[in-house]
């Protein structure tokens, strides 16, 4: 770990003051469950670390008729306990899937969305887009992308909550570079596939801060997350899907289906949503939606198996959202 300055401001304005505009010069510290390991491996070498956990406006969950607002430093444990999120099982199921008490207690929702990829070439210091993607393509790609992998980026986005938040139509409040600069961004616009090593997996500038996640009301929206996990530990899923569906008279009248851990960003499965639209959710229609979700998959050398996992995840997320057994381990 490189030596660094440390700051713990108590308001948003002071945070913004302390952030540099140059990528990598400053890093925002929340739960630290990702940043600290990155710093230990010298994959992040900031001159200054800005701890935002002392900023009280960034923490907590509140609900009104417009929906639910979640502060970026709210811990995963606090989200699990929040009654305001009872109508958003897709979020709670994703957090339960993380299953490490330490990560749940320490990790924050903002950090969860901004965490760096788990790609082992990246984590071993080869870079995220190493050798223009050839290192992954010719190397061991068993956990890599099956969608959106034609360019140099072949990693999968690490966030466990992103599929649910995208499916639920969350918006993000972002401030910076000054406190007067404030935008509300639709979450799917937040994630992007980096084109060069200094880019992150989201659009935040180095001197911007994600402050809140705003969820629209979930009344009438059945939603669920299904992750295919190798084991019960804190390991990342092999594939995941979140579904948010509106059902009227037994038929689907609106659906958002988002895959996780299959692409460099959360992956919106439009064809799956189209497939289920106008139908009741049952074993056949859910399976058809799963197959539609992966019709365009472009697996790499070692990860063809993930195509089936992604399809099954979609199928089971839909079944779970509709209140059925998934057919797998419950």
């Amino acid at each position: 770990m490189k030596a660094f300055d440390y700051a713990a401001p108590t308001c948003e304005a002071d945070v913004l003051e302390l952030l540099s505009g140059e990528p990598g010069e400053t890093e925002i510290l929340a739960g630290g469950t990702d940043l600290v390991p990155l710093m230990k491996k010298m994959l992040a070498t900031p001159d200054r670390v800005v701890n935002i956990m002392e900023v009280s406006s960034l923490r907590g969950v509140s609900a009104d008729s417009q929906g639910v607002t979640i502060g970026a430093t709210t811990t995963l444990d606090d989200l699990l306990a929040a009654p305001e999120l009872d109508d958003y099982p897709a979020i709670k199921q994703a957090i339960e899937g993380i299953s490490s008490m330490q990560l749940q207690a320490q990790g924050t929702i903002g950090g969860e969305l901004c965490q760096r990829p788990r790609c082992w070439y990246f984590r071993n210091g080869y870079g995220l887009l190493a050798d223009r993607g050839r290192l992954v393509a010719e190397g061991d790609s068993r956990y890599h992308a099956i969608f959106g992998n034609e360019g140099p980026a072949k990693f999968v986005h690490a966030s466990r909550l992103a599929p649910a938040l995208v499916a639920l139509g969350a918006k993000l409040r972002i401030v910076g570079p000054t406190e007067d600069d404030e935008v509300a961004l639709s979450i799917e616009e937040f994630f992007r596939t980096p084109r060069h090593e200094s880019q992150r997996e989201h659009v935040l500038s180095a001197n911007q801060l994600l402050t809140h996640i705003i969820l629209p009301p979930a009344s009438g929206v059945a939603n669920a997350t299904y992750e295919v996990r190798h084991g019960e530990g804190p390991d990342y899923p092999l594939a995941a899907a979140a579904a948010a569906v509106r059902i009227d008279g037994g038929l689907v009248t609106g659906a958002n289906i988002v895959l996780g851990h299959v692409a460099p960003t959360p992956w919106i499965a439009l064809r799956a949503a189209e497939s289920i639209f106008g139908w009741p959710i049952n074993e056949q229609t859910a399976r058809a939606a799963g197959e539609a979700a992966v019709a365009d998959a472009t697996p790499l050398k070692d990860n063809g198996y993930k195509v089936q996992l992604a399809a099954v995840a979609v199928e089971r997320a839909l079944l779970r959202a509709a209140g059925f057994e998934t057919g797998g381990f419950e």
Binding site: M1, W120, E138, R142, E232, D235, Y305
Partner: protein, 739 residues
């Protein structure tokens, strides 16, 4: 002449009873100091630089810039220009600095130039290895039951006879099985803190070999072994990887000498995985033939695997086929030489792989014949080769199978391979395997001191590998003296104490039980001598029980332990008990154990995820000193077995030779939710008690691979050939693809 023996069956008061570890509270509260916890006044932190490349030659190493970094006190290179590096992470240089951060920063400043060489890491694809000229024949042999006529060439006859057996077999299965390399993953990585007192070295070393490592430090440091004291009070795991001082240990001592300050060098986690030892892989192609009842009559196999760059690595062919050896067999071993870290002994070397490569094939015979796997295993016990006390262990296995089947409820749960009732996408299955291990006692000396005030101390140059060695020694001595466990103070973990063997091969419990029973029985004779005179009775009429030395037939005629010890006079009584296998005649210990294990799994056919439902492990180990720690060993071994069956593997990048998952985050291990219900059962009829103590550290880790693989095959009706059974491998097998 003292007759060294154990109390009669059922008459012991300490041994055979469940005891908490005497150092359990210290371990649980953090009071126990592990090597990693040793921090000394003025201590420097050392960090090691490993090669980023898997195969290269060093052109130059320049440490000048590193030496000038703030806080740096010394830099030492372990490689010279011209040296060949054969695996990623191999140690190049070490920096000692005031802080860990300063040492890490200095490592970045060491400039190394490399000449890159061809990298080869693929141990599974034999054709690719042959093409790359990375294979070496490591032996082949053939055995047939029939004798050739005198005028017939024996080699030709053997080959023809083996083929004849295959032709006559009622069922022949051709299979491919395998088990990936796993690395050592001790919670406490390798390392030491070294400090000099003048010309004498004290090395606080994380080791399973306190008595044997002093000399390993001495020679390269140009001092004598007598100038070295190795200490290890508590170790955070060894499993076969920590017998040596290692280059980094010696370097740590050199840096301490050079700087005149204590130096601590513990490997980082990724270094631990890359350089501190692994278990060789094993892949096999086998043809196996059996009669209509499933008794295997012939076996023909070629297996290969890697133990790193060496040309004789992999699984020793002597262990294949495993335990049940048919009358006619041929086996061939090929070493695959890879640019990967070298192997080290890993809990029951060769056996887990041999079991996973053999008893899977046996189970496929059951599947092919449509027979219950239990019946086929039972039948093949006719071919069981292990012996204890000169007798075949087949009968032991039969008894253990009965017990295991009852605990598993095998009969009511059994369904033919692939014919179980699915619940949604989930199917369940049963599998079993069985194993053997030696575990006989090795050299051990135990010094017992009895003080005139009744205090009892024991000294052994042994170590507690985490298995409860102190508690074993205290139990044996407390039993002998008729005292409670708490009355015995056990001192182990120093090379200054009487020599005891390294803790490997499951020999520790037998070894220390031998020496401590002998020492304490002899000491007791000395005390009986004094008490006999005092009470005016024959020594042979005395017994030590319930804290008193008493006359057997006249129990009121007695002295308390303290009163008896006071008769010793001014000085403590000191006795050294000695055990040397082969020289010392004994009934206190023996060797050879057997175990039967059964697994019940559930498999999601559409995701390939395997979950453990239930696991049963039945194990004999002769006389059991402490059933509680014995069972803990079995639980631990089963969990470790589940790890390598479902999760654990070393993953190498083919192009760079990088060990890509050398981190706890990526090196997958099971968590509590992954292990299911585990039932461990000690098999100890009187005959087992009578044969004395045998070790069990290793044996229960052998069978899980085959048992779990067989259970998954029973669930799916399809063999997933290579362990660990990851979702990818399960789905690939279901699709009929290459695993």
């Amino acid at each position: 002449m003292i007759s060294y023996n154990w109390p009669k069956y059922g008459e012991s008061s300490v041994i055979g009873k469940e005891h908490d570890r005497i150092d359990g509270l210290d371990k649980a509260t953090g009071a126990a100091k592990y090597t990693y916890d040793i921090n000394l006044e003025g201590m420097l932190f050392a960090k090691m630089l490993g090669s980023p490349h898997a195969h290269c030659r060093i052109k130059s190493i320049d440490t000048a810039a590193a030496e000038k970094m703030p806080g740096v006190r010394a830099v030492k290179t372990l490689k010279e220009p011209g040296n060949e590096i054969r695996w990623q992470g191999d140690a190049l240089a070490v920096v000692a600095a005031d802080t860990e951060a300063a040492a890490a920063a200095a490592l970045e400043k060491i400039k190394v130039e490399y000449e890159m060489l061809d990298v080869f890491v693929d141990d599974q694809d034999l054709e690719a290895a042959e093409e790359a000229k990375r294979t070496n024949g490591a032996g082949e042999d053939i055995h047939v039951e029939m004798e050739p006529d005198p005028d017939v060439d024996e080699d030709e006859f053997n080959v023809m006879e083996l083929e004849r057996q295959f032709k006559e077999a009622a069922a022949v299965v051709e299979g491919h099985y395998g088990i990936s390399v796993i690395t050592h993953m001790c919670l406490e990585p390798h390392g030491s803190t070294c400090v000099w007192d003048g010309d004498k070295l004290i090395a606080y070393l994380s080791t399973q070999n306190v008595s044997g490592t002093a000399a390993q430090f001495a020679t390269p440091l140009s001092i004598t072994a007598g100038d070295v004291t190795v200490k290890c009070d508590f170790i955070g795991g060894g499993f076969g990887s920590k017998f040596a001082a290692d280059a980094w240990g010696v370097t740590c001592a050199q840096l301490a000498k050079e700087t005149g300050r204590p130096v601590k060098l513990m490997l980082d986690r990724d270094q631990e995985l890359k350089v501190a030892g692994c278990r060789p892989s094993g892949f096999i192609k086998v043809r196996i033939g059996a009669d209509k009842d499933g008794l295997v009559t012939c076996w023909d196999s070629t297996h290969w695997g890697t133990g790193g760059p060496k040309d004789n690595g992999g699984v020793n062919k002597g262990t294949i086929p495993y335990v049940m050896v048919p009358k006619n067999y041929r086996r061939k071993q090929i070493a695959v030489m890879t640019n990967t870290g070298e192997d080290r002994a890993w809990r029951a070397p060769n056996h887990p792989q041999a079991c996973a490569m053999s008893q899977t094939a046996l189970d496929d015979i059951a599947a092919k014949l449509g027979l219950d796997s239990y019946e086929v295993f039972l039948k093949n016990l006719d071919n069981a080769t292990p012996k204890k006390l000169g007798q075949s262990m087949a009968e032991t296995y039969r008894e253990q199978m009965k017990i295991a089947a009852k605990l598993m409820d095998w009969q009511s749960k059994w369904h033919p391979h692939g014919k179980g009732q699915a619940k949604g996408d989930v199917v369940t299955g049963l599998g079993m395997a069985l194993h053997t291990w030696g575990g006989g006692a090795a050299n051990s000396n135990c010094l017992v001191k009895v003080h005139p005030d009744g205090a009892v101390e024991a000294y052994l140059g042994s170590q507690d590998l985490g298995t409860g060695t102190r508690t074993v020694i205290a139990s044996v001595i407390a039993e002998t003296f008729g005292l409670p466990l708490s009355a015995v103070k056990v001192n182990i973990g120093s090379s200054a104490y009487p020599v005891s063997n390294p803790s490997g091969g499951s020999i520790t419990v037998g070894s220390v039980s031998e020496s401590s029973r002998r020492a304490s029985q002899e000491a007791l004779e000395g005390i009986f001598d004094k008490v006999g005179k005092k009470l005016g009775v024959e020594v042979s009429s005395l017994e030590a029980r319930d804290g008193r030395i008493r006359v057997k037939d006249d129990k009121d005629n007695s002295l308390s332990w303290q009163e008896a010890c006071r008769l010793l006079g001014m000085n403590p009584l000191e006795v050294t008990g000695k055990y040397e296998p082969g020289k010392t005649k004994t009934t206190l210990s023996s060797s050879q154990v057997g175990g039967v294990q059964m697994a019940e799994v559930a498999v999601d056919r559409r995701t390939g995820v395997v979950k453990m439902k239930k696991f049963v492990a039945v194990q004999d180990m002769g006389l059991v000193i402490n059933p509680k720690t014995a069972k803990s060993q079995m639980y631990g071994a089963v969990i470790m077995g589940i790890a390598y069956s479902l999760f654990e593997e070393r993953i190498m990048d083919r192009k760079t030779g990088a060990f890509v998952n050398a981190e706890l985050a990526d090196y997958k291990l099971p968590r509590l939710g992954d292990i299911g219900e585990i039932i461990v059962e000690i098999y100890q009829p009187e005959s087992e008690y009578e044969r004395g103590v045998v070790g069990l550290g290793e044996p229960p880790v052998i069978s899980p691979g085959a048992a779990i693989s067989n259970a998954v095959c029973n669930a799916l009706g399809v063999r997933v050939p290579v362990l660990p059974l990851t979702p990818k491998r399960v789905l690939d097998a279901l699709k009929g693809g290459k695993a």
